[in-house]
Amino acid sequence: MRHSVFAIVRSLGLSIAAALVTVIVPVALPSAAWADAARPVLRAGLTLEVSTLDPVRATNYCENIIVLNVYDMLVMPDPDKGVVPWIASSWDISDDRKSYTFHLRNDVLFHDGRAVEAEDVAFSLRRVLTLPGLVGGYLRAVDKDRIEVLDAHTIRLNLKEVDPTFLRALVNLKVMNSRLLMANKAEGQYGEFGDYGVKYLATQDAGSGPYSIAEFRAGEGVTLKAFDDYKIEPWDPTAPKEVKLRIIPEMVTMETKTLAGEFDLTFVNPSPPRVKLFEGNPKFEIDRWQTLNNYYVVMNNKKPPLDDENVRKAISYAYDRNTVMNKIYSGGVPLNGPVPEALLGKCEGIPTYEFDMKKAAEYLAKSKYSPEELKKFKLEYASTAGAEAFEKTGLMLTLNLKKLGLNAEVKNVRWTDIVAAQTKPETAYPFVFFYDSARVRQPGTLLTFYTKKGWGAPYPSGGIYWENPDVTAMIEKAAQLADGSPEQAKLYCDAVKKIAAEAPAIFSHNDIHIQPRWKYLKAGTRDGGSSQYEYRFERFRFDVKDPDFVANQAK
């Protein structure tokens, strides 16, 4: 038996050696260096799946970032001015504020080289209003049957009712190449429009934006290429000429790869302990800016004991905003009332509820419910499954409520189940923690949920079920006024004060966006005026001489 041992050891050794070769050889092979120094490449990780590139179906931040770089709009959001001309070089508004005439630039090209025309705008608008999807909701004031193409570069849109948010909402109208889509339509239920190009757009683009889609690999990522004929803004030689976005579902992996120089920046906030890691790295710069994300705890005002104003106030006092803002989130700005100051303008005298357990107890004592009764109510705090910070906030709140003698508990619920529950006062959760990204950047949209109009919307705030006739009247009146006018601002301010006085929800804070990036990259350093518009990549700049840049580009 003995002499065969050698044979066995040999064969075992061989297989181990083979395995080692498998491991080592690729290490030795240089990864295909297909980065070209002359064309700086921006690399970043996406933590959510990109399941469509269709602007109408895009829902998560990753899809949004791609879409807003591939498509252009009539107007461009601007953090200071609201919106600025873009494909539309100018526009006229009728006196009744129900009719908008846009004059389009005539030098804007789609990625296939065809000029953007009014017909494309009309097509895109009809498409967004016809297809199911979120973004259509922002444009619902538009009368779909009265879209008038006046000439190749002029279009008039008519509203069914005055909508102060309309111009800002136009950011959601991505202009698409109608002919390309019609040439590539698939069978569908929209008559002559087939499937409205839904299938095609899932993986292809039909835009006129600064980048076109070079490659989309489902589950892996998207590569964008600079559109050389982009005319609205001139190309800078140090702007990314190519953008490689890779889907990395695990946050920790994405951050590791960023630290390793495989990515240039992160789009989402690292968790507080990990921020330190970037802070401690001299090669990184961290941008911080206040967002317009309104964090609040929605309360179901129809569900006892939350139908009692005193109970709601007590709960508001029991909410430790500073802990949430600074320990759970990485800093923020307190939010008083449903609208952030950045949108509301100066408005003094909004009732606030600073964390104070004594006051909370006092208000609870004033409740029409006895302590025994109060104890019997089961107060569920619905936290969106997977949203860790939501859960931590809930733990804090329920812990404090327990100290007050209330029976509260955190329940992790899927997003779909939350929004489904919110549509009826009987099923709506007592508490839902959420943030509104104030996508349209106008107080009116945020305030809708405090009027009957917003009741039952499949959205966390749809489950507030609170109203006050005075507030409703003020909000309706403000909608008729010129957007941004002092009269309108005053009305919104008064409405906010009245809402805050009855504490229908716990108003928490606006968070701080934290963006770690390699120093050689100059990216947006403030809110882009609408969700994710800070990530228009053509505005990014590289320090192409930085050795780190050169080294990382090769990775």
Partner: protein
């Protein structure tokens, strides 16, 4: 997993050689016990499991920070590394990891118990009937088992859990519902081999009812492989349960379930390695212990 589902003689099977070399013996409890005790790893596994059971029962009294099981936040001690105060450190909201790992033993043992309870209740009678009656019934039942086996357990359990509504209890039910197929196979195979034995034939000729024969005559005689399989499957059930929790379909935070703990602490790797390392280790140790126990039981029950 498959082999364990398939045959009771799975992962480390006792070999024919071992059987052959052992001279003829009178089998008896003592001898079996001594053989079991001789398998030091099996004894170690059993001790670990007993320890876990003890911890699970006594945890509210022995855990260092019993409040940390769920409703506790300590933002001043977030992700504190292991120290004398916190032997396994603290997690992302400052809860004591050791306490939560200890509480987690409850869920994992419950997972094993409930999953196997459901699986055995469903699978064994089905397998018994299939093996005992044979014919068309056997064909149908075994086709059914094949069908269930063709979809990976994790996938089917995941789908059922999600459709029932994600929760730990639903995950247990779903896994149990998926798990019966292995037991059905074993019961079926064993019943087939025992059906012709004298005591069964005698019982039948004496006019005993089918139910009596199946459950009073056959079942006790096929219980050894079932016991071995129970122990081995317990580990895999725990693994599957924690995997479901990791994917977000099982336990939800703040439930201190091990898979869920790894899932919610993984964003703090590598700095907060202790928060995901220890729950993961706990899973590993539990599963290994179940496997060792199963291995020992196989020795215990093995025929000469």
């Amino acid at each position: 997993m498959a082999i364990v589902e398939e045959t009771a003689g799975g992962v480390v099977s006792r070999t024919a050689e071992e059987a052959e070399m052992a001279p003829a013996r009178k089998s008896g409890f003592r001898r079996r016990l001594s053989r079991f005790l001789h398998n030091r790893l099996a004894v170690a596994g059993t001790l670990v499991l007993l320890f876990l059971l003890l911890v699970a029962m006594l945890v509210p009294w022995i855990a260092p920070y019993p409040d940390d099981v769920a409703d506790s936040l300590n933002f001043d001690a977030v992700l504190a590394p292991p120290s004398l105060q916190h032997l396994m450190g603290t997690d992302e909201v400052g809860r004591d990891v050791l306490t939560r790992v200890m509480f987690g033993a409850r869920w994992s043992l419950a997972m094993a118990a409930i999953v196997l309870g459901i699986a055995v209740t469903l699978g064994v009678p089905l397998g018994l009937c299939a093996g005992y009656y044979g014919g068309v019934l056997e064909q149908i039942l075994m086709r059914l088992t094949d069908g269930f086996s063709a979809v990976p357990a994790l996938v089917l359990a995941l789908a059922i859990t999600v459709l029932l509504g994600p929760s730990l209890l639903n995950a247990m039910v779903a896994i149990g519902f998926v798990w019966w197929r292995g037991f059905a196979r074993i019961a079926h195979g064993q019943t087939l081999s025992k059906k012709q034995e004298t005591y069964v034939v005698v019982a039948r000729s004496l006019g005993a009812s089918d139910l009596h024969v199946m459950f009073r005559e056959i079942l006790p005689n096929i219980s050894s492989p079932l016991f071995v399989s129970l122990a081995l499957n317990a580990g895999y059930a725990v693994l599957t349960g924690t995997a479901l929790s990791f994917l977000g379909a099982g336990a939800r935070p703040p439930t201190p379930e091990w898979g869920q703990m790894v899932a919610s602490s993984r964003n703090y790797l590598p700095q907060g390695w202790w928060a995901s390392l220890f729950p993961g280790l706990a899973i590993f140790v539990t599963v290994v212990s179940f496997n060792l126990l199963g291995d020992g039981l196989r020795d215990y029950f093995s025929e000469e």
